[in-house]
Amino acid sequence: MHIQSATGSVTFPPMGVPPPLPQEEQARADVYALIARLLLAPPDAALLASLGAAAQEGPADQPFDAAWRQLAAAARTTSARAVREEFDALFVSIGVPKLNPFGSLYLAGFLHEKPLAALRADLARLGLARMAGVAETEDHLGALCETMRLLIAGAPGGVRQPLAVQQRFFEDHLAPWQARCLDDLRSAEGADFYARVATLAGAFLSIEAEAFEVVAATQAG
């Protein structure tokens, strides 16, 4: 069904459907996709309803779990319009937005700086180029989460990357600044639904960082 290339990445026949991922890996891809979706655009009513329906039983004994429930609770009590207004107030502005979730800004102090160039070089090596008409540069936190999703799950006709490539990308382009950015989002004036998105994203990316460490520690030992 699939071809193992020399680099270990898996390619699919052009019209083929990717084979199913192990459930944990699919779950990672899904959470990345959700975070990307919410960071790049406000949720519509259907997505809010879906989030709101994602309730769980039993105690929330982990940060990710607790964050997930809080986001679901917020989705049940707000409206698409209110969240869109919150999104616009946080991320969209004629002057300087409250939040500029771009890696270059956090790493180099300015937009469109060397970290963005380095990222673009890596993306080119991975064969990824953003869609025409997309406004956000590739170092947008949402775009980077979407990149992680693609590395994990591939795309129809696309390429899945092995864990080592995922880890390298994560550590080079997300790990150095995501926590600072999410802290800013969590504490931004007017952030309510998006403060919970930030908490969920932060909890998830912490799990990701640790999960990569599980591999690194085992390989070192």
């Binding site: 069904m1 084979p19 199913p20 991922l21 192990p22 459930q23 944990e24 890996e25 699919q26 779950a27 990672r28 899904d30 959470v31 996709a33 959700l34 990307a36 979706r37 790049l40 655009a41 949720p43 519509d44 259907a46 997505l47 879906s50 989030l51 329906a53 994602a54 769980q56 039983e57 039993g58 105690p59 929330a60 004994d61 982990q62 940060p63 990710f64 779990d65 607790a66 997930w68 429930r69 990824l128 180029a129 953003r130 869609m131 997309v134 956000e136 949402g142 775009a143 979407e146 990149t147 693609l150 795309a155 864990l163 799990i207 640790e210 999960a211 599980v214 591999v215 085992t218 390989q219």
Partner: protein, 71 residues
């Protein structure tokens, strides 16, 4: 690394992912796995029937988040 080591490593990593997410979206798969061992990826298994205990929280929202297509 040989294939057996890789598989053991993946198993360890997935155990961590389940544990760290508590009863959340990632962890719901634990209940799923307890019912039936997951099929090997290479086996191209038939689509699994929908199960109440399955990994449903993020699965059912998967339909919606494509709208912010970036790549």
């Amino acid at each position: 690394m040989d294939e057996i080591e890789t598989k053991a490593l993946n198993r360890k990593r997935r155990q961590f992912l389940r544990a760290a997410s508590g009863a959340g979206a990632l962890a719901v798969v634990a209940a799923h796995d307890a019912q039936a061992a997951p099929p090997p990826v290479e086996a191209a298994p038939a689509p699994q029937p929908a199960k109440q205990t399955g990994y449903h929280e993020t699965e059912h929202i998967r339909t919606y988040y494509r709208t912010a297509a970036y790549w």
